[in-house]
């Protein structure tokens, strides 16, 4: 989308530089971007809540710091927006659901605290599939997000607002969450960079849970370097999250300069099979050739379980929905959020949840409840966990001979709004190349590598071993440098 805001063509890195040099103030930038959101959001619908007052207040505080010559954070003055699944103290957090329509958290998610400490400016909260359940960002109580590259198309999901806001210049960076591809798919569909970190790399404290063993917060930006910078700010151990890892945070920005010379990159045969649209394959192969040209050696690998949709998609939908059925039990109308008054307690529960949740959320709660039920647990949940173990082994084996794996993010580019809304199974297949990554807990990125015959963006998915975000970033930076449109 064309726009004339001062920094839409700029990176966060450049912006931070300008603010440090006092070429412009954070307030100027913030006012301009807020105006830009005002103008563009009616079309894109990326924002659910815009926090003008909070953003300007934060901008003024940053400007005072600059004027006083105080130490400045790495994201000083950078306008950032957050998927509405991250808790923000005093700012409504809805999960794009009617059931949390009026929920105002009394605390900040750990990543939000870290952004504030880095002197970022938080603009507001971004649209998404309700409770992060979906692949198109159409399942929202606040209406579908539209793809800034073609407004008749979806953004992908579930972090559609996060990808769209970056693509439309409504924010320089955003945060999303990825449970089965929810960062990588919209990044690919909207032509921006989106990274899903290793499970445990980023604290989940304050991330409203969809599927706790799969959820991971991830950064979006226009460039690989900005993505790396944002990852560096949010990564690291958090005592409030038992599943966050005690692994030191390296200099991700430095990794972007490293190149790919000498790396071995594997192409999983199963991710290039039937169903992959030919123009998507061509764009992805173009990205892979760039890596080869820069010194990487390319080889084929096999992921027999992880690459098999009957295993990966099935295991994902059982584990994710089982956890979701429990995670979403707390929305019962008793303590906060939407309540539908009724005569009896049980009626209140039933009506609140029937009216408060959308169709896809209810479908997944029912699926997960069934999978955990007495008599079905072994056939579904336990079996899915066994498949998950096999998927992990597939990747372990692949990383014995490869530094990275490369594949498409999705079989097709962005599809039309409404196209798959009535066909959940078709919708689920959009995630065919991404879900196994979450089941294995490894990191992955989507970096733009070309366009479809219709001119729609296509992302290259690069996967690394656990905590190998640096390798992923170094390869993504090479692709970006050579193929930036």
């Amino acid at each position: 989308m064309a726009d004339d805001s001062v920094f839409s063509a700029q990176t966060a890195r450049g912006l931070v530089h300008g603010i440090r040099r006092e070429k412009y103030t954070a307030r100027e930038i913030t006012e301009k971007i807020l105006a830009h959101i005002q103008n563009t959001n009616p079309d894109i619908n990326a924002f659910i809540t815009v926090d003008e007052a909070g953003a300007l207040e934060a901008a003024d505080a940053v400007d005072q710091k600059v004027a006083a010559g105080q130490a400045l954070g790495p994201l000083v003055g950078v306008p950032i927006a957050l998927k509405d699944v991250l808790c923000t103290k005093g700012l409504r957090t809805t999960c794009a659901s009617k059931i949390l329509d009026n929920f105002v958290p009394p605390y900040d998610a750990t990543v939000v605290t870290r952004l504030r400490q880095a002197d970022a400016i938080i603009l507001g909260k971004l649209n998404m599939d309700e409770f992060a359940m979906g692949s198109s960002s159409e399942n929202s109580h606040f209406g579908a997000v539209k793809n800034p590259r073609d407004q008749t198309r979806v953004t992908g999901g579930s972090s559609g607002g996060s990808a769209a806001a970056v693509a439309a210049g409504q924010a320089l960076m955003t945060l999303g969450s990825d449970t089965g591809g929810s960062v990588r798919l919209p990044a690919s569909f909207c032509g921006v960079v989106g990274l899903k970190p290793t499970y445990g790399r980023v604290s989940r404290y304050g991330l409203i849970a969809y599927a706790s063993s799969l959820d991971q917060i991830g950064p979006f930006a226009r460039t690989v370097e900005d993505t790396a910078t944002l990852l560096g700010v949010i990564a690291g151990h958090d005592p409030r999250d038992s599943t966050s890892a005690h692994v030191p945070v390296p200099d991700y920005l430095l990794a972007c300069q490293r190149g790919v010379d000498g790396l071995t990159i594997g192409l999983p045969t199963e991710f290039f099979g039937a169903g992959l649209q030919s123009d998507v394959r061509d764009a992805v192969m173009q990205g892979i050739e760039v890596l080869e040209k820069n010194g990487a050696s390319i080889r084929e690998v096999s992921l027999p379980t992880a690459g098999h949709p009957a295993f990966a998609i099935a295991a994902y939908y059982i584990i994710a929905t089982a956890e979701a059925s429990s995670n979403l039990s707390r929305y019962d109308g008793v303590k906060y959020g939407f309540r539908d008054e009724a005569e009896s307690l049980i009626d209140m529960y039933v009506q609140t949840r029937s009216k408060g949740f959308g169709a896809e959320v209810k479908r997944r709660i029912m699926l997960g409840t069934y999978a955990l039920s007495a008599g079905y647990y072994d056939a579904y949940y336990r079996k899915a966990q066994q498949v998950r173990t096999l998927i992990r082994r597939d990747f372990d084996r692949a990383f014995e001979s490869c530094d990275l794996l490369a594949s498409p993010v999705s079989p097709t580019p962005a599809f039309k709004l409404g196209e798959k809304l009535d066909d959940p199974l078709q919708m689920y297949l959009s995630d065919i190349y991404t879900v196994s990554v979450n089941l294995a807990g490894i990191p992955g990125i989507s970096v733009p590598c070309g366009t479809s015959t219709e001119g729609l963006p296509i992302g290259l998915q690069l996967l690394g071993n656990a905590f190998a975000e640096e390798t992923i970033l170094s390869a993504a930076a090479v692709v970006e440098r050579e193929l930036a449109s």
Binding site: C87, T93, A209, P239, S242, V334, A374, Y381
Partner: protein, 483 residues
């Protein structure tokens, strides 16, 4: 037909930690409703649990004291159900399944058996879990169709101690609960305050004809809050089952609630209505891994247990069996006794004082020995004053009561009140001469052989000296004067 009963217990005990199991909120009892809360125990969206290491250590301590095996790896599961006082819609609990182990398995607790020996009640497991909140149905609100919820108790740490069905009588149940309570308090794992609900009991009860090996259908009695009530509830359930079988009825698997006021059980739900809790491992908590070094460290912190202490006291001290029971029932009382002995008092004298006056004060004032203002050293000093003949036993009692009030040392009180015993012959002479002069008739009768009048003269003497006369010295002098 004669029947025997088969009983297994699940005891929930509240751990004596200062904070809750998964957050830093205070676990203290009795605060204003909903003041000990945070995003975690309120179950707010996005909040995550973090396991309190202190809870694990306390649970390990009681498990080791009961001879359990600590599992090197255990997990927390989610027990899913809807209830207004359960903010997350699930309770986090360790639950034994085919794949997942609880913190501790095996072990046992000894109880006295009917034949005078002891019987070991085997334990199935000990596991950790969080407590739920409390629904409050206040009249004014009920009338308006509303109930209140207090979340303070959410996340208060509990352990569940599950026994094998090794108990066969309600008396054994009572002894088992008493032993368990003593063990919990001894190890400092729980305060064991029944009035604050620190121990809550579920009992599984079945009966079968004597000689039958197969178990009968079991009925679960839920949430009993005192040992006596538990005993009574089990007795009445056993009788109900016998009556049912004798009249050709059949026992249905059910969950019952005990009403202690009316001594009756009423059914909560039957098997058909039983809940499906959809247990699965909580993905927010990593598996709990306990290595042998940790086990050894906790093992070394376990104090001497009551059984061992009883044997040692019998060997080391010259005290009666009855006194051993009194002194070892409470770890602090035992420590107090040993401190007094260490300060130089004969064990029998120290035991007499503690069993008598010290326990009297504790009972009258409903205080623990830790709250007594008389230190073991001061008690030893007081006993020493009697021993040396500085004060009489009866004066010592008065001094002790004074010590309880003021916390002063016995010497200071004796000094302050001028209570030092009169052993001085010259001083006693004068007083006795006066008494002899004042009571010529009694003197006559005594000399005539009425030895009982000795008591009369001593009474007169004590009155005249306000009890401070040294009785041995005085009676010796009196016999000289009248003999």
């Amino acid at each position: 037909m004669t029947y025997e009963s088969v009983i297994g217990l699940e005891v929930h005990a509240q751990l004596a930690t200062t904070t809750k199991i998964f957050c830093g909120c205070s676990a203290e009892f009795g605060a204003d409703p909903n003041t000990h809360v945070c995003p975690v125990c309120l179950g707010l969206p996005g909040a995550l649990p973090v396991l309190n290491q202190n809870v694990v250590e306390m649970a390990m301590r009681i498990a080791l004291a009961a001879g359990c095996t600590i599992q090197p790896r255990s997990r927390f599961l989610r027990k899913n159900y809807f209830y207004p006082d359960l903010p997350k819609g699930y309770q986090i609990s360790q639950f034994q399944s085919n794949e997942e182990m609880p913190l501790a398995t095996g072990g046992g607790v000894d109880v006295p058996s009917a034949d005078g020996g002891t019987k070991t009640i085997r334990l199935t497991r000990i596991h950790m879990e969080e407590d739920a909140g409390k629904s409050i149905h206040q009249e004014a609100f009920v009338a308006a169709g509303e109930s209140l919820v207090d979340v303070n108790r959410c996340g208060v740490p509990l352990i569940e101690i599950v026994s094998e069905p090794d108990l066969s009588t309600s008396e054994e149940v009572f002894h088992y609960l008493t032993s368990l309570h003593q063990l919990l308090v001894y190890t400092g794992v729980s305060e064991g305050d029944m009035e604050k609900g620190h121990m809550r009991i579920d009992a599984n009860v079945s009966i079968r004809p004597v000689g039958e090996t197969q178990l009968g259908t079991k009925v679960e009695i839920k949430n009993v809050n005192s040992f006596r009530n538990c005993q009574r509830a089990i007795e009445s359930e056993i009788q109900r089952q016998i009556d049912l079988l004798e009249t050709g009825g059949e026992i249905e698997q059910a969950t019952m609630l005990y009403d202690p006021d009316r001594n009756i059980l009423r059914a909560m739900r039957t098997k058909e209505e039983s809940d499906d809790y959809r247990y699965f491992p909580d993905p927010d908590l990593v598996p709990l891994v306990v290595d042998s070094a940790w086990v050894a460290r906790v093992q070394s912190q376990i104090p001497e247990l009551p059984e061992v202490k009883r044997v040692r006291f019998a060997e080391d001290y010259d005290i009666s069996a009855d006194q051993i029971d009194v002194l070892t029932a409470d770890r602090d009382v035992a420590d107090y006794f040993e401190a007094a002995v260490a300060a130089g008092v004969q064990s029998r004298l120290a035991a007499n004082w503690i069993q008598g006056d010290v326990m009297r004060v504790l009972n009258d004032r409903k205080i623990a020995i830790g709250d007594l203002r008389v230190s073991a050293e001061d008690l030893a000093e007081l006993i020493g004053l009697v021993d040396k003949g500085d004060i009489s036993t009866s004066i010592a009692r008065t001094v002790f009561d004074d010590m309880v009030e003021t916390g002063d040392s016995p010497a200071a009180i004796v000094e302050k009140k001028g209570l030092v015993q009169i052993s001085d012959t010259g001083e006693l002479d004068g007083v006795l001469d006066q008494i002899i002069a004042d009571n010529p008739k009694e003197v006559e009768r005594f000399k005539g052989g009425d030895q009982k009048l000795m008591g009369f003269f001593m009474g007169q003497l004590m009155r005249a000296t306000k009890g401070q006369a040294n009785p041995q010295k005085a009676s010796q002098l009196l016999r000289e004067k009248l003999g």
